[in-house]
């Protein structure tokens, strides 16, 4: 009874939020539900097979790709597709769709320990841990420690994890039921020291090792090599529509889970993943005042920015860098100096967002010519040809609200 009331009130709140244009309604809807019935997560997850996807970068896309892979194999899926990944968002997603037996849920990395038990999760899918919004989240190590507690106290849960990320590997500990997939480590700056003994990690081209305590990259049955996922049953070409190496990594993690844990048919699963063009506004386009479309890319932290810039560098066209520093972006934009904006030297560039001047100073010292225009759409309109807008989180949600 209480659960029913909570669901009803929550849906009403979500409808009001959407109708008044305040947001997607998921967050407020879930908050109302949980306020009325704190046991709601348990209730709405009861009897379902729950998979939790978490990472610093890529969790929304990985969740979507896994959901689509399984749907293509004929499995009905419930998922929090709008990226509302805290307990309220998870409750709202599950409450909205009571039918499907399988739930693929993106969970904020800090919240994983709090929701594993209420959801009675069956499988944990762990992508990567890098620096992200240090003023809010604390440091990489503290999140790895929280995940480690989950692994240590849930010996029966299945884990699918990225073997190339030292913090992820450490967070899984000596867990017995792990499927490792080596996704490669393009961003190593947040993993200089060994998570086990704090000694200096040694990196070879494709693996890490600690000479002090022997902590080392685990052998993995699954491995991403360029666009190919190497699996025990043979090589699989990903050929996604989604751009960039980072999405190959998301897809490799999703496909490994689909194959190794859900026994999915590879061809059908791939078909589902390849059909994905836009994920919660990511890679969507914005119409400019002159009729052109600008593609919008999300970059939340140094690792994410670096991946996006490497992808953009060989491409033609202009670039708008739209940076805010609200709580959801991280209030300290010092990280701008850890990102190789020098890669943009040959392009037309605009410094934009509420922190356009921080971006501009960074570009100036990096020898990148640029204009300064705080409004990203106006900035894009001032640049010639094809335009990509790379946006921090709150800039991104503002620009892509229509396409969610």
């Amino acid at each position: 009874m209480r659960t029913a009331a909570a669901l009803l009130a929550g849906r009403a709140a979500g409808w009001v939020s959407r109708a008044t244009g305040r947001g997607a309604g998921t967050q407020v809807s879930g908050r109302v539900m949980l306020a009325i019935d704190p046991q709601l997560l348990t209730e709405v997850a009861r009897g379902r097979r729950v998979a939790i996807v978490s990472a610093t970068n890529g969790k929304t896309t990985t969740t979507r790709l896994l959901a689509e892979a399984l749907r293509a194999c004929g499995t009905p899926i419930v998922t929090n597709h709008t990226g509302a990944n805290m307990p309220a968002g998870v409750a709202a997603a599950l409450g909205r769709d009571p039918e499907p037996d399988v739930a693929i849920l993106e969970v904020d990395e800090r919240w994983v320990p709090k929701v594993v038990d209420p959801l009675d999760a069956e499988v944990l899918i762990l992508g990567n841990l890098t620096r992200d919004q240090l003023d809010r989240f604390g440091e990489v190590r503290s999140i790895a420690t929280r995940w480690r507690v989950v692994s240590d106290t849930h010996p029966k849960i299945a884990v699918v994890a990225n073997a190339s990320d030292p913090h992820v590997v450490w967070s899984v500990g000596a867990h017995a039921n792990v499927t490792w997939v080596a996704l490669g480590a393009p961003w190593r700056s947040d993993a200089a020291t060994c998570p086990e003994c704090a000694g200096l990690l040694t990196w070879s081209t494709d693996a890490f090792h600690c000479d002090h305590c022997g902590f080392t990259q685990p052998a993995s049955a699954y491995r991403l090599d360029g666009d190919t996922l190497v699996t025990p049953k043979g090589d699989v070409e990903l050929a996604l529509q989604l751009p960039g190496d980072w999405n190959r990594m998301n897809a490799a993690l999703a496909l490994t889970t689909a194959i190794a844990y859900f026994d999915a048919d590879v061809t059908r699963a791939l078909g589902g993943m390849r059909a994905v063009e836009v994920v919660s506004g990511r890679f969507s386009t914005c119409r400019l005042s002159d009729g052109r479309d600008a593609r919008v890319l999300l970059a939340k932290n140094p690792a994410g920015w670096t991946e996006v810039l490497r992808w953009l560098e060989p491409r033609a066209g202009a670039v708008v860098l739209a940076v805010n520093a609200h709580i959801a972006d991280g209030r300290d934009p010092s990280w701008l100096w850890d990102v190789p904006y020098e890669l943009l030297r040959d392009k037309a560039v605009a410094a934009s967002g509420e922190r356009a001047l921080d971006v501009a100073v960074r570009l100036d010292y990096g020898g990148v010519d640029h204009i300064v225009e705080p409004d990203p759409l106006r900035a894009a309109a001032r640049l010639v040809g094809e335009v990509h807008i790379i946006a921090s989180y709150t800039q991104f949600t503002h620009l892509t609200r229509e396409s969610w």
């Binding site: 620096r131 240090l134 003023d135 440091e139 990489v140 190590r141 700056s189 200089a192 020291t193 704090a198 000694g199 200096l200 209030r331 300290d332 010092s334 990280w335 701008l336 100096w337 850890d338 001047l357 921080d358 501009a360 100073v361 960074r362 100036d364 010292y365 990096g366 300064v372």
Partner: protein, 255 residues
């Protein structure tokens, strides 16, 4: 003053002490030399390598707990080289974890009290809660520096020994978290809790360090209009933050 060699700006252990864009401080120092047609070079000292005595400026940045302990070990092992460099006029600029390591002791995770380099008389303990937010520092008058803007994010409480001069008085934020001051100031040595990073936001501070190496006369003016706009924006923002904090404290005191 003329030099027969490039200014060597050393970024010490960037993998360990580079959590908060600390590389930016090195980039700014090198670039401000080049804009004055003074040769400069960025030297990265990788973690695990000895710190050479041949650098003109030593930059110690911010880092996570474990990384700070590793960095401290490496720095203490190279103590003789650092001393030799300083005896020849080299400059030390340290931020956050780096500032803590200038002192005699600091507190690592689990409450362990460990030795720092002991270049100046200060010591750091962990405090109750992290100090996070925009921070404004009125520098010690002897420096002639304008007001400094930055962003602090740390859990340390740093106490200066008797007679040790802070970098300045904190007008917004907490700085050292003790006595209303930030950082430390000594001959050819400067430490602060300010990120942002500090030198991109405060070009005069960058030039202050360069003057120690090159002499005042070498520092011809540079067009800093863009940075000045950023500084005005940040200082305005910090004043609003500061007002809000004071209003909150006032309400707390009443309640």
């Amino acid at each position: 003053m003329t030099r027969d060699s490039a200014v060597r700006v050393g970024l010490v252990f960037p993998e360990l002490l580079g959590t908060y864009g600390d590389r930016g401080n090195a980039v700014v120092l090198v670039e401000r030399c080049r804009r004055r047609a003074i040769e400069a070079e960025l030297v990265e000292v990788a973690a695990g390598e000895p710190i050479p005595a041949s650098l003109d400026i030593y930059l110690f940045g911010g880092g996570e707990d474990d990384a700070q302990v590793m960095a401290a070990a490496g720095m203490c092992a190279s103590r003789l080289a650092i001393d030799a460099a300083r005896a020849h006029g080299a400059v030390v600029f340290a931020v956050c974890a780096g500032l803590q390591l200038l002192g005699s002791t600091y507190e690592a995770s689990g409450g362990r009290i460990l030795d720092g380099l002991g270049l100046v008389d200060l010591s750091t303990r962990s405090g109750d809660g992290r100090l996070i937010g925009e921070c404004v520092v009125q520098p010690d008058a002897s420096t002639g520096l304008p007001i400094l803007t930055g962003f602090e994010n740390h859990g340390g409480r740093t106490t200066l020994g008797p007679g040790v001069t802070p970098l300045g008085r904190v007008t917004v934020g907490r700085g050292n978290g003790v006595d209303g001051v930030d950082g430390v100031l000594a001959d050819h040595l400067l430490g602060t809790y300010l990120h942002g990073p500090a030198l991109p936001r405060n070009p005069a501070l960058a030039d202050h360090l360069l003057a120690w190496v090159l002499g005042e006369d070498a520092l011809t003016p540079i067009d800093d209009q863009l940075v000045d706009r950023l500084r005005a924006e940040r200082l305005h923002d910090a004043q609003l933050t500061g007002l809000a904090a004071r209003r909150r404290d006032w309400h707390l005191n009443r309640g």
